[in-house]
Amino acid sequence: MIPELGNFALILSLCLAVVLATVPMIGSLNNTPGWVALARPAALGQFTFLLISFACLVNAFLSNDFSVLYVAQNGNSQLPIIYKISAVWGAHEGSLLLWALILGTWTVAVSLFSRKLPAEVLARVLSVMGMVSIGFISFMLFTSNPFDRVFPAPLEGGDLNPLLQDFGLAIHPPMLYMGYVGLSVAFSFAIAALIGGKLDAAWARWSRPWTLIAWVFLTIGITLGSWWAYYELGWGGWWFWDPVENASFMPWLVATALIHSLAVTEKRGAFKRWTVLLALLAFSLSLLGTFLVRSGVLTSVHSFAADPERGLFILVFLCIVIGGSLMLYAWRAPDVSSGGKFDLFCRETLLLGNNVLLVVITAFILLGTLAPLIYDAMGWGKISVGFPWFTAMFVIFTPFLVFIMGMGPLSRWKKQDPGDLARQLRMALLLSIGGGVLLALPLFHQGSASMGLAVALSLWLLSSLLLSLRQRFRYRKGLAGILKDFGARGSGSFYGMIIAHLGIAFFIIGITSVTQFDVEQDIRMSPGQTVELAGHTFRFEGAKAVRGPNYQADQGTIRVFNADGQEVAVLNPEKRTYTVQTRPMTEAGIDAGFLRDIYVSLGETLGNGDWSLRLYYKPLVRWIWLGGILMGIGGLLAAADRRYRMASRPETVAAPATAERLATESHS
């Protein structure tokens, strides 16, 4: 009964999505306030029914209702409660429902927090979100309904994929989806602005906090995914350039370009068309990612053949969204007035450079991700694009990106004297080149040009951030002035930028250090045997059988000693076999540290108590995720900036002293 209720609620939410997508939009076009006013209640209604529907599916999992096909495939009565809940989004149908629910949540959030928005603009924004919602809910109802029944009902469920039975992965998809779907807000604002023909600084100011929050979720989601892959897959990798990862990374890159471009549009009124295009692109890539990954099209073109209905629906939906929005763009964008004028060298140009680089990186990743699909479809053979290519693309462009990042925050809007900037950054340049060369030489270790470059880039970034801070504090009187500044207009953006860019510096050092200096060894070990690796002694104490709630495992014990013979860690990697899906899984033993991780996983048993083991020493690997977290915090600070909350108030604030005003403008 309850699953039928869920299904019914889903149908009702589709009806409300249709209302939301049409009535307020039409009302806004022919000035019917009554129709426009329908946007808010419709959004709230849609959300309510999606929530009911979602709750019904959660209930089906919690009550082990295996007469529901989706629960029968992905649930199990032995699952711990937290994984019963996360199993709801563990596969295709349920994750679509989560997607739709999150879209409903964002829609309601926009309707609640944008009360200062002109009614017809808000109506259009919500309408566009309703249109996207129609696509998703009908995709679910017509091709992948999570409430489909199965008869006869099996006695026990097929269990959640053991890889997904993990806390990190329980929260990773919702985070990522919050990001993906959050980009629909920027998308809808852009479409609404194109329809209304009013693309101005106010538009940028409205969409900026939303885009920032979506970007924060995306950042945290990707970071969590990478961390999960690292500790759960058992071979110490943290990024594989897998299509699934690329699908989340591409929207992130474009969204990163978008938040920077929005800054220019808000502050200077320039780049309007480009910003709109980025907003359309970012969400299109999210859609492409969700669909291609979830439907399995990227693993093989043939999954279209396996389920032609789903494939066709996806293609049509993508064509409508991407094609439709680009057509609207082509039609309306030429009318948009070009914004503020600027010189050849100024902050605008630097931000443009950053945007171009980010988009170029995205284009190459897209090429690499879709190439196997294209080759297969054209009959050119079955290919895969090697890991090194993606890495090369990233490594080639990043130094330029970081070089620009160092100059951006210090430069002025509109007009910047290159000599002046060079004088400011002279010491930073010397410091970073010096530091880089020092690290590239074989003084502390075997020496590495890549590490030198990474250190140079990070020092460059760091010193430029310090210079920006100094420049800002120069106009704040003493400690009190600085403290007062933390709550001021524009300070969220500024300090957020500092923290997020600092995150990049950590990230670069972490990545380079772990790729250059990690030590890895596959080895056969007998109980009691020791081996030296990266200045540590690893002693294998043998393995014994243990039992978990829904698995059996062999658990190894490895003691790790440092050079002085002191014990630093006892690691217990496991080889698990889950009862239902009967497949082996590696659970790594990790000793985490700020400066290094020691990582051990069990291979296979080789008889006589011998095991093959994989030992890793990973210097600074945590800095990668620390970078991600810092970026997230930075984004949150920027989104919380006071000026977004004052956005609709007319700008009556008396102009502060000229010097201070200039300083504020060039930082925020």
Partner: protein
Amino acid sequence: MTPKRKKRMTLIGLMLVGVAIAAGFALQAFNENLMFFYTPSEVAAGEAPAGRMIRVGGLVTDGSVKRQSDGLTVQFDVTDNDKTITVQYTGILPDLFREGQGIVAHGRLQQDRLFVAEEVLAKHDENYMPPEVADALKATHDKAVGNTTEQVN
């Protein structure tokens, strides 16, 4: 052309040149990093280049897995039910590696036709058959069926 316009055109021109150069390098690197997939039959027919990174895939032949005394170097046969090639790999095999299971290996073909793998993939789903492997098996099957049909005719 006004000076302002000229400046803007220079900027756009510079960016276009930069992007074009980058794209050129990227595409060249792209070609070098393409890994083509070959079936054991194609390898046996000498269609696969030696020394270049390629991918091969098929089913691991039952009873073919041999482990050398170091416990880490493994040799096994991979078949598409028509021809068979021998793959050698040093290191820890993925959790789902098993005889009879479909796998894909990345590596290089040696002059002596031994395939030395740098990576062996068995997807984390036991019902999963790598699509290339499924196709290879299907091709063999179709060929076999085709032959029989011809004989009947």
